[in-house]
Amino acid sequence: MNDSDRKHALNIQLRAAEGAVLRALGLIERRGFRLETVHAAEPQGDGQSLAVTVIGERPADLLRRQLERLHDVLWVELPGADTASADWTARGATNTPGTGAVARSAARRN
């Protein structure tokens, strides 16, 4: 682990669909993060939740938005995230993803 690397926890809510877990985990590695722990919960109805910890130097908030672009990802939480990472919405913009201790996006995938 380099000095610049940071550990992040993410809660990922998935649609319980074929390939959904692979899609999310594959994206995390492709986008420059190492997976440290993975816990997939038993599917509940149409959904399944995935708790991961990742290590990387890129912003976790960017990873969150990249995950949320996946069709099978319903939302992503960054427990304890520093909302300052979203300072590009400064100057009064209200589409700030972070809303406190739990940064959860209102914006959705394309």
């Binding site: 390939g19 938005r65 996946l70 590009w88 100057r91 009064g92 913009a93 209102a106």
Partner: protein, 588 residues
Amino acid sequence: MSLLQEEHEQRTEATAAPRNGSQLMIEALKRNGVQHIFGYPGGAIMPLYDALVDSGLTHFLCRHEQGASFAADAYGRVTRRPGVCMATSGPGATNLVTGIANAFMDSVPMVAITGQVPSPLQGTDAFQEVDIFGITLPVVKHSYIVRDVAEIGALVDEAFHVATSGRPGPVLIDFPKDISVQMTEEVRARPRETFTAPEPDAAAIRAAADMLATARRPLVIGGGGIAISDSVEVFRRFIRRYQLPVTTTLKAMGVIPTDEEGFLGMLGMHGNEAANHAVQNCDVLMVVGGRFDDRVTGKLSHFAPTARVIHMDIDPAEVAKLRRPDIAIVGELAPALEALERHADERGAAPRVSESWHRQCTAWQKEFAWRYDAPGEGIYAPKLLRDLSRHSDEPPVIACDVGQHQMWVAQHCRFTDPLQHLTSGGLGAMGYGLPAAIGAKVARPEATVVAVSGDGSFMMNVQELATIKRYGIDVRIVLIDNSMLGMVRQWQKLFFGGKYSEVDLSDNPDFAKVAEAFGLRARTIERPDQVAGGLDWLLSPDGPALLHVKIDPEENVWPLVPPGSANHQMMGTGQGKRSKGQWEGLME
């Protein structure tokens, strides 16, 4: 900002008569407006090809699945509806992958259908089995394996919605053979989710309008998203109304007519120096539907060093991926631009361009205008391409391959509409040009469509000449032949000490004879005095033809931002051959 509306309808309907999965697939494609399909049959997809007969859909048999996927990509770009390609399992499916990746990188709507071995055989290393779902995970917007015959209609509807909504992209449907022959009377819906674009955020619009109103040296970069979202007219109005200096990315060439005053040309690695100087010196940079690609920015930490950045894009995941903007406006581009205009009107605070900045941009434009007085005996390809695009009042649709000629097309051709320029931007896939021209011509039969290729690229999908001949697709081909992998040779010359490695193509076949063997008209030219006549001949109303243009093997693309350099550190400054010797000397 609720962007999703979820409806859960689980209904089962009895249909008029039992049909098999393939018939349901064809029906669903037609319901989604599909008229044309590019593909290649094989074992696992035979039931779908069976249902295709007498379906009313027109299928184009390309001669390699990669050709089919590139044709579908171009069809999708031109129509803004998913281009459809299909192939069998195994090698058919893997041959589609490059085209799917191409569509993914350039945000092109596409639906790719692959046959798959029967469900009980999956995972047994069956004949022609590959996990195409797994192989394509990184390069699709979404993908499906059909598991339930009754859901096919709903699944296809969803695939088309996903491919076209928001930021478009390719969707793969893997279709196991047992499902494709299974009979059913049922039609089952799937939980339906509809994407709705976010409204442009009011506070971000206000902040952006204020930033533009207080700018002195503003600059706009038009990106590929403008054409994708059909925002060209609104973008032009915005630029013209405030007389904003504007440059574009490779994919956005034509969002402002390239002849228009104030258009600085393409920016980036092979951009016009006027554009690169403007970016490096502006104080407010508004990027509309672009994604700060490394070929655009050069050394990222040195890109637009004095600028505050406004980034407009439909995709929240592009914001602050590479350059952190000061203001991000996430949503559809046209409503956002209109909101900016409205806000400026209401507050009497229009975007400002200082007199001195306007003068400076004009001076750069003049200083770095392209020159065509190249020395040498041979044909100067940039001039030929310039003449090609000015042959008629309406510029042709140019489907480009990848390499030096691709950059010359972007630099020197005239475009009045971004859909006139089809190019493999993100993936940079050699072999794109010829099948892309086929897809474009099928989509727009009334347009003049020219494939511009190089001798390296052309051989990667040369088999598509047979597709052109078979269907009489009126594609014209300009083949720029330097008997080299020219762009690689140029980089070996500049950055590897002139040690050439596997770039010599001097034993190329006689391309005119090749084209004639496929039944096309063909002509070879090699002197400047043959260019005008050659273009007249090529563009005459006599059907598909290939103009084989031999040029100097040592010709380079100038100017050039060397890898790892900032955009103002361009080699070959002043364009053309004036100073290239100086740089080449330095690099050796």
